[in-house]
Symmetry: D3
Subunit: 188 residues, 6 copies
């Protein structure tokens, strides 16, 4: 029996719970082993980003809980096929964590796939990876993408540019994962 | 271009939000068109079933919101490849809705696939479809399955018996959907 | 001074807080000593089942907290006049606890009164005690009662059949406790 | 068939939900008809006063909901055997409602029973009825009682002084209602 | 460099979070050192008192959290220029704490300023300091003020009478702090 | 009597409630008239950003509610002395509103003061105003400031650079408002 290929998921407290659970379950269904890395091994306080009548932006509420598998300190890039970065409010502070930025750059340098959805794209921006790239992301992240040289794409729900695959929001799961698995099946 | 095949999803207020969103996104990714039926067309008040330290059972909290697409009154069984019944607290009261029971029986009579996960299995039980069948479901639904002649299966996360595919909980998504898509790809 | 007669209350996390508090206070007022048994001695996380506009079923929210008095391990049936089983979401999982089922059967074998309200009836169903009995219970528990041979009674709020007294919901407190105290006053 | 005797309950938004529901159900069980009066006929936003580890006072959370039956404008004192005033945060503002104060004084002038529990005693204080009376009430209402001439009683859970019956908190239900029904059964 | 003059703030669990934070930040801006005293040194569970459509009184929700600096046991009146008492639900129980009442009386005896806002005025009432004084406070505290000889002032948002400065609610911050700083700048 | 000078406050749903209320009350105390502009005149759904043990970033909860005074459509820059931009999650989406960006640039072009705190700085970044400026802001906004040419300042709580005054978080209120009022008192 072949051992499952590993995909690294980078998130933490305030990560978007549906995006993280979806990634984890969807990868397992396809035979991959998702490994969730966070600032430490912990029961992460995830959030739910949803919409309510009367609000001019999304709302944030308590989400599902999940345990992280490893700490950022224990990531070995060589062990993974690719990295996947979900959204929520976590990428806002994770982009200040030098371990995260180094890991993401290492994936890029190793010519491995980088998948990011919604606010997860903020990590790619801070790692300096969106310059001249076509990028789909949450509309409120558009400014950050463009100010760092990226090309914000709309109305596509998800897009691939080189080894970077990005999706707008969790409503883009269908299109995003179609591309993700098309990439993974071709191998690196 | 071929029109997408339709899959009926039966739920309502108090349906489990992750199970419903997962079904909807996963089916779309695979090229199917999910149609969510509820007692009426409405913004459904979905719930989150999760676990917290210190509790002897799961907790229920406010979940994601979702609009239903059609009312139970407007279901035409012939339009669908299969029916999928998510869990949460919705099946408890939906099993008292004669429209739901009739629809589910009609899918069975038409020899179409019936997929149910977690508490969703309660609908199959009430429709009289679990007798002598191997059934995976939430452990707290085991009594109802067995008292109506079903055979509660464990530790499998999901199982197929004839045209009925059942899964334990949302943690069984990977195994459950592997079987679901294996069924759908063979056609009816 | 005569020692107060004891009534056993069976519940746990997710028990309905108003039903449990009402039982406890009402029994004390009448001079009985209620003893609350749960899976362990703990501060129980009780819930509130109530109704809100826009919902097709009841809502569940955080309820009052209460300490249990004893663990299921420490129940001596001979110490009690009767057992009372409140509802909420607790009976769903308590019916899987063999200690609970044994205790309830022992009360029945000892020809003592069994009182159950709302979802509390699920315990009687699993203990095999509703066959051929007239039973009042929450309407969403009707299927379970009938599939195990019970006769679901409506529109009565509460009913006595032999040594079993059942009530529909916490809105049936007045009728339910009238019967409960009429039974207790006659003695066993 | 004799028509049920009526008991007036005075409360409103922020009334304590367990105290109000308990009064309503307990009175019905005893054959009385409780009539809930509030500033208007409405779905009252009741609260839950409970205790949590780490707090130096009680906590307030969302309680059960209840409809009031009549507005304070429509109270006819002659229709009622007695008035019962539950606690919560409602009495704090209801004591500023001149309709409430007049009604309560009228009950006193008519030599009818006045029952009050927990913060409900604040209404009696403002109506000028506690002077020289023995009063049980929530410990944080003690100052108001004493500054208006009342005699704060402890550790009794409930006490009767003339036509006034008062109880400490909802934990005093057993003792409080024993006295309430002893009074009601003697008639006025 | 001159050491900042100290102002004592008296509060605790259920204190109104905006009033406490405002006092703390506003005093610091003006060069004073606020010292928050509570029943013990702890992370206080503060509340938010706000208004919602459909409610006949204010609502209480979870507020901001704050650490207290010292316990009531460690207050040395001589160290402070003045005392400031915010509102919320904390004053209701703090008025039963003899340490609080003694401290407040000592400030009065030392002819130092006493500032109180909203329900904070309840402490002044219990300390016997409002007799014959003009007092602004939350309208639901009016009865307590008047029953202890105070003169409830309206519609002024804040008022000074001798060494006592009081404000109606947190909406009175502008007028209240104008007077507070006018007092502090004149010195004692 | 001189008419109060006006200060424009730019915020909306998900604005940080303490920062907005503090600005409004503090400006009024100093004799200014704050005017709150939002996408429309509405009861804004404000949030609370606070800290909880066990979280690697701040938490977001329901905050105080506030009505906005005017819509962004009705801002006349000439009417105001200065603009103040509070934080929270509102600036993330407001920076995509071209009306907001134009207004902020107009204030700059008119050589008027721009005050921003916490995430409010995101608006200045998008308006292109932080280039070569010393900026204090929430640490998670640092990347955006620097990627657009600003100089992130720490550990100062607040800083003035030309006509731009910025503060780190609501914990910086004392230092921030000292500078704000020092600017306003000098006039433009």
């Amino acid at each position: 029996m072949t051992k499952a290929k590993k995909i690294l998921i980078i998130t933490g407290d305030a990560g978007e719970s549906f995006e993280i659970l979806y990634a984890s379950h969807r990868l397992r269904e396809a035979g991959y082993l998702p490994v969730i890395a966070a600032p430490s091994i912990k029961r992460m306080n995830l959030v739910m980003h949803d919409f309510e009548p009367g609000w001019d932006t999304y709302v944030e509420r308590q989400g599902y809980f999940l345990e992280s598998d490893i700490s950022f300190d224990d990531i070995k890039v060589g062990d993974y096929e690719a990295v996947l970065i979900p959204g929520g409010r976590a990428p806002e502070y994770l982009r200040n964590d030098s371990r995260v930025i180094k890991v993401v750059k290492d994936f890029s340098d190793a010519n491995k796939y980088l998948f990011a959805i919604c606010h997860g794209v903020q990590i790619l921006v801070t790692a300096g990876l969106v310059n001249k790239k076509k990028i789909a992301c949450y509309e409120h992240v558009k400014f950050e993408v463009e100010s760092c040289g990226g090309r914000y794409i709309t109305p596509d729900e998800a897009i691939k540019d080189g080894k970077i695959v990005t999706g707008k929001t969790w409503q883009s799961h269908p299109e995003f994962y179609k591309i993700v698995f098309s990439c993974l099946e071709q191998g690196n």
